[in-house]
Subunit: 333 residues, 2 copies
């Protein structure tokens, strides 16, 4: 079993919550004209650095909104706030700036690897550009002012998405949780807050934003992720050593089902994909974790509709998912 962070860390994300000193906070921002003004100002500034798509949520279809949300580019709160909200998304999807969500600005930078430093530097660059065009609400004692006190101070949330089949299957994750909570970290399922741990994917992020510097926050998350990843790789090794035939059998059956089934629902797809990822990570199957992680996102409902070019019913989507997955996985072998 090759032991690499790449087999554990799916992606790194840092987001900053900011508000402008001269505008009412979004929950009091009733003037749509004012809301649009913010969007226009930011779009103009950011387009100097990269090419951004501008989505005024009031004119984005439910289908498109679901697509963007599945790709972690926007949040449900942004959709709910559609009267005044918007998103600026860079073409490569690495940068997303949500405007008039809970705060005026939620800037995030996203990277398909484990590199908090790089991600933080990138989003800081964006942050500087924004702050130069519109001054932020900032308090000497409280730091950046936010709508919700849980974001006060740095307004920084560093999240790392982790694939943890070893810790999950060997029931170590539950034991690790209280320890991570004591470090001021939150662990939850990767796809939305209520989605459990589908695909054995977890988000680890800092709970605390106030009273610590950005560097301190990043270091706590970084250290925790390194520790979790080490534990994870050790547990995978044990999983395999415990019963190697059973381990290979499970991986190969998952691959066999995904490359042969005629229809598959999202839940079962995620179950088998976790095994296929484990198979790739352990050298049983060919392919890269990146291809598999991309496939997982591509096979979420709104992403399938997008690929299909038109919305599909649930049954047809299950057939589409099976067909697309079959081709994608076979192409990897």
């Amino acid at each position: 079993m090759r032991a690499s962070f790449e087999d554990v860390v799916v992606s790194t994300r840092v987001r900053l919550a900011r508000n402008f000193a001269d505008y009412p906070f979004p929950n009091r921002l009733t003037d749509v004209g004012q809301a649009r003004e913010i969007v226009r100002l930011l779009a103009a500034e950011l387009n100097h650095t990269d090419t951004f798509d501008v989505y005024y949520m009031s004119s984005v279809s439910a289908e498109k909104a679901a697509f963007l949300k599945e790709r972690h580019l926007i949040s449900q709160d942004l959709i709910n706030n559609r009267r005044i909200s918007a998103a600026l998304v860079s073409r490569d999807e690495s940068i997303s700036v949500m405007i008039n969500e809970e705060d005026h600005v939620r800037e995030q930078y996203f990277l398909n690897e484990f590199n908090l430093k790089k991600v933080y530097e990138r989003i800081s660059g964006i942050d500087d550009i924004i702050s130069e065009s519109i001054p932020f609400a900032y308090d000497e004692a409280l730091g950046y002012l936010t709508a919700c006190p849980t974001n006060l101070g740095t307004g920084l949330r560093a999240s790392v998405m982790l694939f943890l089949p070893g810790l999950t299957r060997r029931s170590v994750m539950r034991k690790l949780m209280p320890y991570l909570t004591r470090l001021g970290l939150t662990v939850r399922g990767a796809f939305g807050e209520g989605s459990g741990t589908e695909g054995e994917l977890y988000q680890v992020s800092n709970e605390i934003t106030l009273g610590r510097s950005e560097d301190e926050i990043l270091k706590v998350v970084e250290d925790a992720v390194r520790l979790i990843a080490e534990f994870e790789l050790r547990e995978r090794q044990r999983l395999m050593e415990e019963d190697e035939v059973a381990f290979r059998d499970r991986v190969c059956r998952a691959y066999g089902i995904l490359t042969n089934c005629v229809r598959i629902d999202a839940h079962e797809f995620m179950l088998h994909m976790a095994d296929v990822k484990l198979g790739v990570a352990s050298g049983i199957l060919n392919g890269t974790m990146q291809e598999l992680n991309d496939l997982i996102v591509a096979m979420r409902p709104a992403n399938i509709n997008r690929l299909n070019g038109a919305p599909l019913g649930e049954r047809e989507r299950d057939v589409y998912r099976a067909e697309y997955t079959r081709k994608a996985l076979r192409a990897m072998q």
Copy 2:
């Protein structure tokens, strides 16, 4: 869906029960020398017509006996009677003559298709040869005398092995049973009396041997099989029309598991093989029913040990079964 008897009938078998007038019945045959004399006499006569392997059960290993039993060439009663019992098996396995089982002679002819007439003619030929060398115990009123009264008269048992997934899955088989019983037929699982209906395989045979001529018995079985086969093909059609995607999905998943798994036990193997057979019968998969039926026999425990050249533990046999099946099925595509 192509509609053919070949997709329903696995094999036809006719066996005749006979005893010799001048020897004590097997349950009273204490003289091993006398028992061997019968074997030698029959072997000498039969070897004029074909090449037979002679198995004195007293010197056949348990492993070899299990192998022959799995191939339906000998019975458990023959094994239990090993002190005096023997079997003569033609090289192509179409003819098996069990000696000193319940009766002195149980002659059977086996064919991988549905042709009771041909099978009966073949076994009659063998029967004539045997009766010329040693006269049978025969009574004008009772016909051929047998150890058990259920075989009196013709001593004839015609069995047809049927693959009935349509009738099984659509719960029609249970409704058909009383009707078949009224016709004087017995239906049971294909692999031994206690084995249920593994692989959705059934044996249909005549219960009554007395008071009907051979031709009448064969006709009852023939008509019943034709009727069952018609019903079966109709139910398969319905299974498919009910939900074609579900039908194809089940077939293709079974194929995916059997061509990818690393280990599989006999029970699960039979479950998936039934779906693969249905897939071949309905044109979803390539291959022939004959190849699949042969594979089913080849993957029974003692047959695997035989293929492997040495007995395997259950876990190793499950790995062997997976590997062999993977290659066999892939070669068919």
